[in-house]
Amino acid sequence: MGRITLDKVTKSFGEVNVIPPLDLTINDGEFVVFVGPSGCGKSTLLRLIAGLEDVTSGQIRIDGDDATRMPPAQRRLAMVFQSYALYPHMSVRKNIAFPMKMAGIPEDEQKRRIDSAAKALNLTDYLDRRPGQLSGGQRQRVAIGRAIVREPSAFLFDEPLSNLDAALRVGMRLEIMELHKRLATTMIYVTHDQVEAMTMADKIVVLRAGNIEQVGSPLELYREPRNEFVAGFIGSPKMNIFGGNPAQQHGAAKIGVRPEHISASTEAGTWEGVVGVAEHLGSDTFLHVHQTGLADTVTVRVDGELPVKHGDRIFLTPEADKIHRFNEQGLRA
């Protein structure tokens, strides 16, 4: 079980109110990602759930029990930290055994759990090494191993992949998702990387300045962003957002069109502009189009083979049913 409910939770550091009243329910077995720009309070929120910070007001319930004032150890949650927080003077085996030792689990049970975790995480050959002798990815796996053996009701991940290089990050991302499928335990994952959020989550919670901007599945957020902020944050490259004349033509204060929902042509189209930088990815090309009269830069995804170069004139046409309309407050209209 691992159902976590936040009920009007707030957090202030002195005068500064980091999290205004916030309600959220995380269901058992869900993979929930908190995503938002840095300083949006996502890590604070995770630390509140973990019990590493005290809530200022409100209630946190874990499996229905009030956990608001519970010390971290009693919440049956396991956390994987950004720095991995491995104990440097202990071997990998002792690191993984530490939470079980603290819980007073018998030696042979400890050994059984360590062996199975080590096997699952490919750490069997490294059990007697110190963390300092491991690579970043291996350390990450030790941190996960230390979390697994406690058999927690939920896992908390605090930007666990941000210290890894790009290739390793994709690999670890898959491993964590694999783990979630196998254990079917609730996981809460904090990241600022919307690609991680989109690929991993069952449910994404987009945060800004402590406020929940939108909660939903990755595709819901992609298809129907509730406001301009979510629209700009989810999706890569970012959604193009225009105000002024073109927006009024669609009866909105602002409109947004994703780069992949604009088609480009060298002959004719709705809008006209000059090609700036073209980013060739092979399969696709991202064109940065200037002098359109819409915004400084309009990003367009075109076919990788489209023969355009810097300075060419180009015509753009948005897909009519994929235009997002926002009102003056930036809310979806």
Binding site: G51, P72, A73, M79, S83, A85, Y87, H89, F98, M102
Partner: protein, 288 residues
């Protein structure tokens, strides 16, 4: 310093400092060695010629020798235990966020800036004086007979004074070590269900082991030579005659430079034995 040229230039520029330091060390050491093989009584005939190892034999067979070794070891050991134990406690306290942290930290470091002679005098006259000292008043307040600190509890008194002086040093080094501990490690241990005591034993103490090693080494080397604290308090009586103080008495009070020099060489050997010993035990701690 990659090229041959740069290397030789570097050597040339380092030479004055190296020569100065080497001379500074070698000249007194050689003189002590020379004197230790001579019968040299400045007020009773001066240099009376070579006597071989006689000074060395006399120094160790004197009834004062072994007690002085023990006094030295007890003082050094006592001060080490007290400064490290209290240093860890103080460092843990000072690491907590609190009001007036800056001032408190300066106050804690302050004893280190007081000269040994001055601090020993202050302790002797203001705290340990059996008539007017603060301790005497305190004892009287509770109706107890004041302790004559420097005669009845001479070694503990000296240990107390020296510990007070060296506690700031230990605290400072241990505090910086505690501050370098990744707070996520403590939080991880907290999540892992470790109560405060286990966090201290399994996380904080191992993290501090290097700093403790450094405190141990540096303090031992300095404490072997404490002199001023004994000179201004007990003058070496009541069992506080350390090896250093014995050497001083042989040279200046007995006016026997040869005998004192032999003692000096013993002190050098003892210091080296302890240093090698400590390096062996704790050296692996400094490797990693």
């Amino acid at each position: 310093m990659a090229t041959q040229h740069a290397r030789s230039a570097a050597r040339l520029m380092l030479a004055p400092a190296v020569i100065l330091l080497l001379g500074w060390m070698l000249v007194p050491l050689t003189m002590t060695l020379v004197f230790s093989f001579k019968k040299y009584l400045p007020l009773r005939g001066g240099d009376l010629g070579w006597v071989g190892f006689e000074n060395y034999i006399r120094f160790v067979t004197s009834s004062a020798f072994w007690p002085s070794i023990w006094a030295t070891l007890i003082i050094v050991g006592g001060v080490l235990v007290i400064t490290i134990a209290f240093g860890i406690a103080l460092a843990l306290l000072l690491d907590q966020p609190m009001w007036g942290q800056g001032i408190v930290r300066i106050l804690v470091i302050a004893p280190f800036f007081v000269m040994p002679t001055v601090s020993a005098l202050v302790w002797k006259n203001m705290f340990m004086d059996p008539v007017n000292g603060l301790f005497a008043h305190l004892w009287q307040f509770f109706g107890a007979e004041p302790i004559q600190w420097l005669s009845q509890a001479s070694l503990p008194s000296i240990i107390m004074i020296v510990s007070w002086q060296w506690l700031p040093f230990a605290t400072l080094i241990l505090l910086t070590a505690i501050q370098s501990l990744d707070s996520e490690q403590i939080e991880a241990a907290e999540m892992d269900g470790a109560p405060w005591r286990s966090r201290f034993i399994y996380i904080i103490l191992p993290h501090l082991s290097r700093a403790i090693t450094i405190v141990l080494l540096i303090q031992t080397i300095f404490l072997l030579g404490i002199f001023a604290e004994i000179f201004v308090t007990t003058q070496g009586s009541f069992g506080t005659r350390t090896l250093t103080y014995l050497i001083y008495q042989r040279v200046l009070e007995s006016q026997n430079v040869g005998l004192g020099s032999a003692g000096g060489i013993y002190a050098v050997i003892l210091a080296n034995i302890i240093a090698i010993f400590l390096m062996r035990i704790v050296g692996k701690n400094l490797d990693a």
